[in-house]
Every structure is written in C-alpha cells, then in structure tokens.
Amino acid sequence: MWWRSASFILDKGLNDEVQDESESLRVSPSNTSMADTLQNPNPKISAYYQTRAAHHGVVTSDWLAQAQAAVGRHPDDLPPPKVEDSGKPFSVIDEFNSWRKQPDLAEAVAAIRALASVIRSSQATTMMELEIELKKASDSLKSWDTTSISLTAGCDLFMRYVTRTSALEYENFNSAKSRLIERAERFGEISYKARRIIAMLGQDFIFDGCTILVHGFSRVVLEVLKTAAQNKKLFRVFCTEGRPDRTGLRLSNEMAKLDVPVKLLIDSAVAYTMDEVDMVFVGADGVVESGGIINMMGTYQIALVAHSMNKPVYVAAESYKFARLYPLDQKDMAPALRPIDFGVPIPSKVEVETSARDYTPPQYLTLLFTDLGVLTPSVVSDELIQLYL
C-alpha cells in the first residue's frame, strides 16, 4: 500500500494521542486558574512599561496616577496567589517585582535573580524536582507579563542553563544548587559587563563630527554615547521626543550633562532632519529570530526613513535580549499597551492606538552591537539556534 502523504502515520498514532490530549486537558484547568490569579493586575498597561515609568522621572501626571494605581493594587492582588499556593511561603512574582524596582537592573537580570531566589527557597531534593519547580516559576513569571521580551528571554536563558549544563548532572545536588545560585547572582554582573563590551564596540563606529539620531531611552545606547564622549569623540546627538513617555527628554538631559551638543526633535521631525544625520542609534526591547528588533514605537518608521536615505541604523542590545520569537508583521506580537496623554480630552468615540512598540524587520537594520560582537541581523538566528537548540 502506498500513501500520498506522511500524515497517515499521524492517523495511526491518533489513538494514543487522543489519550494524551485528554490528559493534558485534565491538567490544563488548574493551570489556567493559576494563570488567571497570576495575571497582570492592570491589563491596560503593560507591566514592562509600568516599571519603566517608575524608573524614569519624566512622566505625565495622568500616567503617574495610573501607574500609582497599578502599583498600589499589587499588594491587594498578590496575596491571593499566596493563599492558593498555601504551601509556598513566597511568590516568584513578588520577588521579581522587588528586584526590578531597582532602576539600574535590567528586566532579564531581575527575572534571573527572582528564579535564583526560587532555587534558594526550594525544598526540592533532586535535580528533577528543582527543574520542575523552576519551570513552573518561570512559566508563571512569563505569563504574568507576556509583553516583556527580555523577561521571557531571561527566563528561557536561565532555564536552558539549568537543563543543558551537563556538569550539573554529575555533581551532588547541593553543590549543583549552589552553582546555579552563583550563576544567577553573577548574571547581573554579566549583564553590566555586556553593556560595557557593547559600548566599547559601538563607540568605534562614532567618528568625529558625526551626527547621531537616537530614538527613545536605552541604557546601552547611553553607555555607548558616554564612552564615545569620554574618548574625546566630537559628535552631535539628535534626540527624538519619544512620546508618550518622553524618554527622549531624559536622554537629552543625560547628554547635556556630558557636554555633548544635543538637539531635541519632535517624533514627526525625523524625516525632516534625516539628511543631516550620519547614523541612527537605537536600543531594543528584544531582538527576534529574524534579526529584526522589537523596540519603542517609532523605531520602525525611523528605520524606514533612514533606509530610504541610505543612512546606517545601528542597534545596541545585549545578547540576553535575543528571543525565540518570529513576528511576521507588526500585529504578530502580543501588544504591549500604554496609555497616551494627548493633553486634551479625547471624545469617547475616538479610538486610540495604545500599542507601545513596533517591530523593525531586519532588512532595515545595518548592524547589531551585542556582547557577542558586531553582528549582521542574519547572525542573530545563528546565535539563537546555537543557544537554544
């Protein structure tokens, strides 16, 4: 007998699979209920931007109020999961939140620290148990804020380290555990070092007399510019305003402190000024498998304008922001929402686009500065495959 497609073997195995599925169905209700309780308390605002707002000084009063409300609601909302997990004295999410309150700590670092504290407080006696516990913790972390790419990537990275480090299997459990904790503790350091490496790599691309357009506020980009300024490079920076949370204002503030000539533009003046610009520098919320980036709203249009005028677009991003995501277009990601203050009351019939970030496809990016080196967009997938497969 011959078969037209390979699916027949699927059909053969269907009976087994039905059982599997029914099992997974039986398990799933409990999962979803847990996910519900662990859901972001304020779905209208992406949790990522809640912390960002808390970190950054410049916020509108309206936004501040909302963020306050959101933060204020946390303590009320979070106890329920604690009650649910009655046995467990502590929640990963609390831990994570406490870590990420620190302004200089990247999201991924906070996530990994939170996972480390899971290990520390774990009562598991075998590696397998610990892994399962970690997996649960990281899943709940990820589902708590699905919009944060670096949170997801950080969790994945750490989980991969736990599951794939073969050395762990041959050690006794306690030393393995302490090794994991040590690794997690050092991750913050690694992340800081990564930023330094990127700054050193990136500043080589800044030449005397150049004009750099920067969009949004990124710690890595700031580090690059700072390093360049310290190395006595003479350059000029154009900062976009970065509506709605005005992150550009903050960057221009930092630049002014470094005595770098800086000009502030409104977001819509990008094309107008592009002919003066020599290069575009942006950070990234996440670098996806295609080599494109997910970043603050407006990056895509700046990249488009720069591409059409043949200006290079450089992205500075740490390698822990590499995520196994592959958006095909703008709408193909979990939207991160953020309220926008238009200064005037908006009629209720008017819809407002509140998405906070966009996806820039790789063909509009020139190079990525990462702690793995200066990469073309197509290498990102190479690194990701080596990292995760």
């Binding site: 073997i9 196994r324 095909l328 197509s378 997938s381 497969l389």
Partner: protein, 646 residues
C-alpha cells in the same frame, strides 16, 4: 569546478554540443560543422539507443539542414524504411548515397552515434563522397543490415561504444587515409581479438544476473554479425576501433582528474562519457525525446509512456531488483507516489523490505555487499524518476548507517538494527518533524486570516487541518496550475473537512493576492543559500506575495535541507512529460500541438521544479523552529552530523 567545466568554457559556446567529443576530434571537424542542423532528428524515435545526444539546431543552419518536409522528393528509391523508423538519408538530401550509407550504418546498428557521426562528418561530406570510388556502393548490402538491426534495440552497450569510435574514425580516416593504411596491416589480428573480447563480454554478461539484457545482448551480435560481414566497410571499422581506443586513452586523464574531484551531485546528461557509463549499468532503456530543450540539455529528457510497459514486461526478468523496490520504482514512474515525503517514505519502506529479505552471499561482507545492493536499487529508482534531494539525504543516512555497522554484529542483528534505523528516520525526521512544524505554524495563523497555498503540500495540509481543529477562523485560497492540478486533491480534502476554500489557477494569483494575509508553501528542498526548491510555480506565487508584502512561510522538514547552492532553476531540475502541457484533457478540439514532436522548431518545456530566491521567503518553518532563510546553512552545519548519526 572540474576539468570538464573548464574545457567547456574554453571552447566557444556553440561547441557545448561538440563537447561530447574528445577535443582532438573536434579539431578535425571543420568549423562550420559545429553548427550541425541535421542529425538532431536522427535519433531514431524508436531505437533504444544508450546515448543519443543530438546536436542542437542553430539559426545558422546551412543549406544541408533540409527539413524533413523537403526531403521526400530527394529520397532514394531504395529506401523502404517503415514510417516509424528513422531514415537518416532524408536529412542528407544534398549528399551522395555514401553519406546516407554512413548514417544508415550508424542507425541500423549503433543508432546512438549515427547522429554524432553524421554531423561531425557532414561538413566535409562532399569530400567523403568523392573519396569513395563507388558512390552508391553496397547499397544492397547495407539495406539488409539496416532492416535486420533496426528491430534489435538492446545492443550490448560495450559493443556499441566501441563501434561508435569506429564510426567516427571512419570519417576521420578519409582525410588522412595514410593512417588507416598503416593500420590495415594488422587488422585481421585485431579483428580476431575484438571478436574474442566481445564474446567474452557477452559471456560475462550472461553470467551476471542481468539475464534478459544479456540474452538480448548475445542475440544482437548474432544478428548483427552476418550483416556486418557482408559489409566491406566493416573492415574499416575494425581497423578504426584501435584508434578509437587510443582516443579513449586520450580521454582518460581528465576523467581521472574528475574522479579526484568531488563528484557532481547529479549527473549532467550532456556529459557524454558519464551518460554512457550510466547507461551501461542501466536496467531501463528510456527513449530520449527528439526535440530536446536546448537550455536543459544536461537533464534527462526521455519519451514518456514507453518506460512503464517496458518495465512491467521485465518484471519477471529483473533478477537483482527486489520486488518492493521494483514496485516503488513503478509507482514513481506512473506517478502514483508523488510528493517529497511520500516518495521518501515509500523508498525507505522498500529498502526495509529489501533488507529484511537480504542475505549476504558467501564470501562477501554484509557492509560492502549491502551498500552495493542499495546503490543498485537507487540507480534503478533514479531511472524511474530522478531522486529528490530529500531522498538523497535519506539514502545518505542509510548508507552511513550501513557503513557504521559494527563488524561484530551477526547478519540478523545487523539487519534488525538497520530496519529500526530506517523506522527511526521515518519517525523522527518526517513524522515527528511534521508534527513540530504544524505546532509552530499554527501559532502564525490568527482568526480572520486568509491563507494562500500553492499546489499540494502534505505539511501545509496538516497545518490547515490542525488549525481548523483548533477552531481558528480562517479561509484558504488554493492556487493550482496545469498540468498536474494537484491542488484539486488538496482542495477536496480540505473542503471535506469543512474548511472554507477558494480555488483558483496561478494565472489569477495577482488578483487574489491582495486579500491574502499569509502564504504557506511546501518545499521539495531548501538549499544552503536559502533558495527554496519546490514545485514549479512556487517562485511565481512567492514573488507576487512579496510584491504585495504578504509574508511567505515555507514549511520544510530539516531532512530536506541541502548544503548545495543553486541560483536558478536551470542547473538542476526535472523535466516532465511535454505532452502533458501540449494537450488539454477532456478537450479534444484543442489539438494545435498534436504532432508537435515532428516539428524541430518546437520544443516543449515542462519543468517540474523551480527555485525561489530567499528574498521572497519571510520564514522557513522546520522541525528546529521558525528560522529565517539565512539560517538554513546554520542548521545544515549544526545538524548534519546528527543527521547522519541520529
């Protein structure tokens, strides 16, 4: 890449055809003879010649290139050749009977090279004619030979090769007759020697299990010999054969170099020596198409419809072929099994059967003998239909497994381990891979999507059905194309499962594309530069999708990846039946192309595959996840070893 290529570059483009001959020989041919108009019809339609590489027609056809239409009036009264058979004299209207004699000898006995001889020769045919004292000599003697041997098609290849050299030598001889005179001295001895060799060869053939062919091979010389004996020219041939072998010697060094090189993944069918070698091994003798498409000369172009009955009739004679392999071969040939995965699975199952029934012959080791056996199966399958890249990878896997079998294993253990390896390959690399692909791809389908697919891909079908099972709300556009209309089968199955579908032909793809949100395509293979090698038309669909900024998702299992790089659809492809595009089934009135094969100005091209540049591909979904086309070499590099080991 290899010396052969280099040589071709040196010679001017026209001589691409001339490249079949040794360089020395081409020099002897006058320059204008390199635009040979004639012989390309000469490959007799029904002679099963091992090699017929008809020289191409050129615009520069000279006066001799009389079209068959012009010929009949010039036909000699002595020619009583039946319609179906080939009459080369038709194409030598201007030349004397001698010329026709040459080609006739070639045709009757060694049809594959009649053409070659004819056309290299044609330039100085006038000279030849004059060099023969009696212009129409031995017409009577020749004719019987012609008639007797036309019917005998299965020439033992060894003989035909030799005599080909002879034939060519005949023409070379004429200008430089002094050489032939020298050689005449020992021709009797040589002839005796040659006869002995022939007999030995035939005997050896008969011993070797290919009984039927050998039988015909033995029979042929018997038929041919008397005819030959009656010909005075046979002497010349014999004397010439020595020089022919010398020429072969000249050919040898490049061939040796070639062997040192990495073998070309596919045989180039315009490489005469290799083709000949392959034919010698061949079980099946396909008939080559008369009007071969110029650009695709390096690909096999055979007559359709003759192979299947031929093979079927041989079923009980093909001793070395395992019945399971034989069955799969016939299914490929008949088109019953199509689609990369189905073909690969069918082949692996057949090999499994063959391994099950295999027993090592005495005084042989399993590892070596089984590898050789598998190779012979593979070459049989290639004759039925060229291998797909996925099948090539699967064969590579199987052979590496055989080679790595520990010697300590007993035969039954080794066989069991190979069978389980094959099972694992099918399960892990095809079935599970498809499942993973489906899981990945489904995440890219949203409610309200309009998905376009082209042709019929098993992976895409599974994706669509699974997404439907998950309750996603989407619409499917099935784009199809003549002549295979594979999309209709897919459409039928999709509609049967309750999906809402639109069916259209590829002509309308630019119209339908504006409402499409995702394009899902299958692939026969993905090459190292991200080029997607798939059913012909895929490139067109993805190009239109790219122009409309619709993401193109290619679903392809990683075992189909190949480290080769291909920039166009020409250098490696498969040609389908030209009749399939000249006829419209069910519409008898469309018969404008009914006897297209008779017109040498018309070449029908029915390509099976095409190459989609990676620019048009947004994403490749494989069992290793969703990767951009630029990452294909990464997967090939990282997993090739694992691929072979599993």
């Amino acid at each position: 890449m290899d010396p052969r290529r280099g040589a071709r570059v040196v010679i001017d483009p026209k001589v691409r055809q001339v490249g079949f001959f040794a360089p020395g020989r081409t020099q002897s041919a006058p320059p204008e003879s390199s635009s040979p108009p004639v012989a390309d019809n000469s490959p007799a339609g029904n002679s099963l010649s091992p090699v017929m590489i008809p020289p191409p027609r050129h615009a520069s056809d000279n006066l001799h290139s009389a079209r068959p239409v012009l010929c009949p009036p010039l036909r000699r009264p002595g020619d009583t050749i039946p319609v179906g058979s080939y009459n080369p004299s038709e194409f030598f209207p201007g030349t004397s009977p001698t010329a026709s004699f040459y080609s006739k000898v070639g045709d009757g006995e060694f049809s594959e090279d009649a053409s070659g001889a004819g056309w290299t020769h044609r330039g100085n045919s006038g000279k030849v004619a004059s060099s023969f004292p009696s212009g129409g000599f031995d017409l009577t003697a020749v004719k019987p030979s012609n008639l007797t041997t036309v019917s005998v098609v299965n020439m033992p290849p060894g003989i035909s090769v030799k005599t080909r050299g002879a034939l060519i030598e005949v023409q070379n001889e004429q200008p430089a007759s002094s050489r032939s005179l020298k050689e005449k001295t020992s021709k009797a001895e040589r002839r005796a020697l040659q006869e002995a060799q022939r007999a030995a060869k035939a005997a050896a053939k008969a011993e070797v299990s290919k009984a039927p062919i050998a039988a015909s091979g033995v029979a042929t010389p018997v038929n041919a010999k008397p005819a030959k004996a009656s010909k005075p020219s046979s002497q010349k041939k014999d004397s010439a054969s020595v020089t022919a072998s010398e020429k072969k010697g000249v050919d040898r060094p490049p061939e040796k170099d070639r062997k040192k090189d990495i073998p070309h993944p596919r045989m180039q069918f315009d490489d005469k020596s290799r083709v000949e070698k392959a034919k010698r091994r061949a079980v099946v003798r396909p008939i080559e198409v008369r009007n071969r498409v110029e650009l695709f000369r390096h690909l096999p172009q055979y007559e359709r419809g003759t192979l299947l009955p031929d093979l079927e009739s041989k079923f009980f004679q093909l001793d070395p072929m395992h019945p399971a392999v034989y069955k799969v071969g016939l299914q490929y040939l008949a088109g019953d099994v199509s689609g990369g995965n189905a073909r690969c699975i069918a082949m692996l199952h057949a090999f499994q059967e063959a391994i099950k029934d295999y027993s090592t012959p005495p005084e042989k080791t399993l590892v070596r003998d089984l590898t050789a056996r598998i190779s012979s199966y593979v070459s049989f399958l290639i004759e039925c239909r060229p291998l797909s890249i996925s099948m090539g990878n699967a064969i590579r896997f199987l052979k590496s497994r055989i080679a790595k079998l520990p010697l300590s294993l007993s035969e039954s253990e080794a066989k069991a381990s190979l069978q389980s390896d094959i099972n694992r390959f099918i399960n892990e690399k095809i079935v599970l891979a498809d499942k993973v692909i489906v899981r990945h791809a489904v995440t890219k389908i949203r409610d309200g999507d309009v998905l376009l697919t082209y042709g019929s891909s098993s992976a895409v079908e599974m994706i669509l059905l699974y997404a439907h099972e998950l309750g996603k709300q989407f619409r499917v556009v099935v784009v199809d194309s003549r002549p295979k209309l594979e999309g209709q089968l897919l459409l039928r199955r999709l509609v049967g499962k309750g999906l809402s579908c639109t069916y259209t032909h590829i002509n309308a793809v630019s119209y339908i594309m504006h409402e499409v949100t995702r394009v899902f395509l299958g692939a026969s293979s993905v090459l190292s530069n991200g080029t997607v090698y798939s059913r012909v038309g895929t490139a067109c669909v993805s190009m239109v999708a790219h122009a409309f900024r619709v993401p193109v998702l290619v679903c392809c299992e990683a075992y189909k990846f190949h480290e080769r790089v291909q920039l166009d659809s020409i250098c490696s492809n498969e040609l389908g039946d030209p009749d399939a595009i000249s006829k419209v089934p069910g519409r008898e009135e469309i018969n404008y192309l009914d006897d297209w094969a008779k017109s040498e100005n018309l070449q029908l091209l029915n390509l099976i595959y095409d190459a989609t540049p990676s620019d048009y591909v947004s994403m490749i979904i494989t069992d290793y996840g969703m990767v951009p086309p630029t990452s294909v070499p990464v997967i090939v590099r990282e997993y090739r070893r694992e691929h072979l080991w599993i």
